[in-house]
Symmetry: C2
Subunit: 254 residues, 2 copies
């Protein structure tokens, strides 16, 4: 049997948002390498597996990526069923692509299992539809955190007409605000800042672009949090539109 590693998305936090395929991978696992942001409740599906914490949280003590790579490789070559468990989805800001490449180059079979990403789950729990006919024909997921100089064109994002969902943005609110305003986004564009998306202690702070930094400060917003920026961020459970935004077409009020 050839060496194999599962790169599995554990979802946004709520352990019920795990997929059936992820549960199957965990049940078969001998070794599970688990990231910081994964809710440990999902480990109920692999009670006999060896659990290794390999977290890498911004600014804190962390496990080098090269060490994680070697650990996966060693266990896989020893015939162990290895599950690498990541928060959200492995290929949405999860380095799943890099880890898969590294392993495949060394002859290891890799199977990726998608997960629900935090931005989507957080918005849904706050009754914000990321796309909405007549309002937002698309959604853009971006990370504010970067270790390289990859080019994110904030002006283009401001003008794209899509809902923006920004990950790892808590420390960069000022920069994000300035870039989007400079890109022509309206000062009163609705913003929702969602902490601990999908978990029982999820908190939401609603604001508008120009005030979001001040409001986040008053709210004591902490990482991990996602930002949802765009007209749909005014949606609330109690009334879809806080400020009387677009009426739906007649088809929807029959």
């Amino acid at each position: 049997m050839s060496a194999k590693v599962w790169l599995v998305g554990a979802g946004p936090g709520d352990p019920e948002l795990l997929t059936l395929k992820a549960v199957r991978a965990l049940r078969e696992a001998d070794v599970v390498l688990i990231d910081d942001l994964v809710n440990e409740a999902v480990l109920e599906h692999c009670p006999a597996a060896r659990i290794i914490a390999v977290g890498k949280r911004g600014g804190c003590r962390s496990t080098p990526q090269a060490f994680i790579h070697r650990l996966m490789l060693r266990y896989a070559r020893n015939g162990k069923c290895v599950v690498r468990l990541k928060g959200g989805d492995p290929c949405i800001f999860g380095r799943g692509g890099e880890e898969a490449q590294w392993l495949r180059e060394r002859g290891v079979d890799v199977e990726l299992v998608n997960g629900i990403t935090a931005g989507l789950a957080g918005a849904t729990q706050c009754a914000i539809p990321l796309t909405l006919r007549g309002v937002a024909r698309g959604v853009t997921l971006v990370t504010a955190h970067t270790q390289d100089d990859s080019s994110l064109n904030w002006q283009a994002l401001a003008q794209s007409g899509t809902t923006l969902v920004i990950y790892m943005g808590v420390a960069k609110l000022s920069e994000i605000r300035e870039q989007l305003l400079a890109g022509g986004m309206a000062i009163n564009t609705p913003v929702a800042m969602i902490e601990n998306a999908s978990l029982p202690h999820q908190r939401e702070c609603r604001s508008v672009l120009t005030n979001m930094e001040d409001d986040a400060y008053s709210f004591a917003l902490k990482s991990p949090a996602i930002l949802v920026i765009g007209a749909v961020a005014a949606c609330k459970t109690s009334s879809l539109w806080e400020h009387g935004l677009p009426a739906m077409g007649s088809e929807h009020t029959a």
Copy 2:
């Protein structure tokens, strides 16, 4: 007990990509309203429920939205546990936001359950990471199909630096190509066209922006399919980069 409707994402097609929460909702369901694009294999979780097909496929005979609304409302008010099952995620081009609004305005409790969206699953199955450090700091999901005049700024999308994932684009390849080229996107930008994402009969056609219409024709690409446009669309299982795109940082080659 108050009336309640579950708006549930059934995922992209692979029945193993259903979430545990979706399975719980199905198990509790008395009535399931199911869309065309949902894989009926997921109905194994609700063998006793009444199943009602309410599909709406572009160009074909379809169930009016107002009828679906009234059906959900009637069953919910009669005390039935109603599950509305949608392909992918209910709030990514799924009208989940509209249906939730309509029901909540009539006093019905709504619970939304996220699902894996087809664009994400298709890309993952083709070994394409939608985000990749140094290459794509974000991903934009958009629909080419629209019944309204909502403004999608193709020029901004072409310049955003994010991977583009386009839903319902098979009939609009020519328009998409022209708009992105006019927006300044390079003619040789990699494109992956993925039919029946995540299903056993998934097919993929790789191309570049300027040739995508011709290649889709030769390939006989059919709906439902998603388009992935951007540098990451050159990734393949056999070698991450077909044309030797960016080398990863030294951290990744230890």
